[in-house]
């Protein structure tokens, strides 16, 4: 089947081209490839990454630069792999921005960062904050510029909700808007999820928060020594905490109380 449906997206310096011959697959790509970023139709130059969804027999295959990277019997089963492929393509091509593995939302014009490893529950916490009025930046990466401001990385959220598998969710399903401009960092919360624990956080010095950012960036300090200065500017206006959190809904309430008390 030839690729009759296609579009391009320019995301943070990465030229993404997607195509498929299947109308349903096109709708899925349009919904999940940085849905808030503008589409470029037609020939947008040589893509950095070329993504296709190809129906083969009773399967759909996700094909990246000519190589099949995942297959599923239902289209929705390709979404997590699609999003991860896009993450890798964008992050490895960043030139001036520096990524931190963190959930990010905006409250009162300032970014709140939730750095943490995979399975730390960043996405669940971000979703709960969106349900409470926060503006969405990302559930996976905070992109920090040379001034220390955070840029939105508006991929769909990937939620687990206690299941091993992830499923995608768009911010508007939480009645949340997506940020469209960089914001200074207001808060950094490094929270470990402990199901049986109680909410227990302490204020952390900004220098400790800087080390937390360094521990959660995919960039290598030895190759990007300027990161220290970038992260110094990011933490310079932030109130920082570290500690343990409980379930996402309860933690979101506690975070909002903390933010209000620090205002």
């Amino acid at each position: 089947m030839s690729d009759i449906h296609s579009f391009g997206v320019r995301a943070f310096g990465c030229n993404i081209q997607v195509a498929t011959g299947c109308r349903e697959a096109y709708a899925l790509l349009d919904r999940h490839v940085f849905p808030s970023l503008p589409r470029v139709s037609g020939d947008a130059g040589t893509p950095d990454i070329f993504i296709r969804i190809v129906p083969i027999a009773d399967q759909f295959e996700l094909v990246v630069d000519g190589v099949s990277v995942a297959s599923a019997s239902r289209l929705i089963g390709l979404v997590t792999d699609l999003i991860r492929v896009l993450d890798e393509a964008v992050i490895e091509r960043l030139t001036t921005l520096r990524a931190v593995h963190a959930g990010a939302v905006v409250l009162n014009g300032r970014a709140l960062l939730l750095p943490g490893a995979t399975h730390a529950g960043k996405s669940s916490l971000v979703a709960e904050l969106l349900r409470r009025g926060a503006t969405y930046f990302s559930d996976e990466y905070a992109l920090i510029d040379a001034r220390g401001c955070v840029h939105p990385y508006p991929r769909p959220l990937l939620l687990r909700n206690g299941c091993p598998q992830q499923f995608p969710m768009l911010p508007d399903e939480c009645n949340a808007s997506v940020g469209d401009a960089p914001a200074p960092v207001g808060w950094i919360l490094s929270l470990a999820y402990q199901p049986e624990s109680t909410w227990n956080v302490r204020a952390a010095p900004q220098s400790e928060a800087l080390l937390i950012l360094l521990r959660n960036t995919p960039h290598i300090l030895a190759e990007s020594p300027e990161m220290v200065g970038i992260f110094e500017r990011a933490v310079a206006g932030a109130t920082c905490y570290t500690g343990h959190r409980t379930e996402a809904a309860h933690a979101a309430d506690q975070i909002l109380r903390l933010v209000d008390s620090a205002a």
Binding site: V67, V69, T80, L210, T217, V235
Partner: protein, 142 residues
């Protein structure tokens, strides 16, 4: 106790708005984070000094209620991280530090460049759970 900074020619020190310090040691490939209390002790060691000198300096720069126990605790943390060395009467961490509600206990933590590299490899989206099928599929003719 005499206190002196270790070789500081390779250190780049920056103070953040909350008074905490970031120290980058390019020779030892390590980044240090000092809270404001430890940072005040670090500043007090800009020239070789004594524990009494450190305490007095911290009283002037940070809080008049700083006592020698707190200053010693800060120096010991800086010593553990090899940012200062001490001589003379052996410093020993006292069992209890008189806590002063307005002053944070000293905190010095660090991250090596090697450890940061290891963290960087895991600070990303987890790999696909779907078994990859490295079957080349030709691109369509344009």
């Amino acid at each position: 106790m005499h206190v002196e900074r270790t070789n500081s020619d390779t250190l780049v020190v920056n103070q953040l708005p909350d008074g905490s310090r970031v120290i980058v040691d390019s020779a030892k490939d390590r980044v240090f984070a000092l809270n404001a209390t430890a940072g005040a002790a670090w500043d007090a060691c800009s020239d070789p000094t004594t524990l009494a000198g450190v305490t007095e300096s911290m009283r002037r720069s940070l809080n008049p209620e700083i006592n020698e126990e707190l200053a010693e605790a800060a120096i010991l943390q800086l010593q553990e991280k090899q940012l200062v060395h001490t001589s003379g009467s052996q410093a020993t961490r006292r069992a209890f530090i008189t806590t002063l509600s307005t002053i944070a206990l000293p905190l010095v933590i660090s991250l090596s460049v090697a450890d940061q590299r290891a963290f960087a490899k895991t600070a990303k989206s987890v790999p696909s759970t779907t078994p990859p099928k490295p079957t080349p599929i030709p691109k369509p003719h344009s």
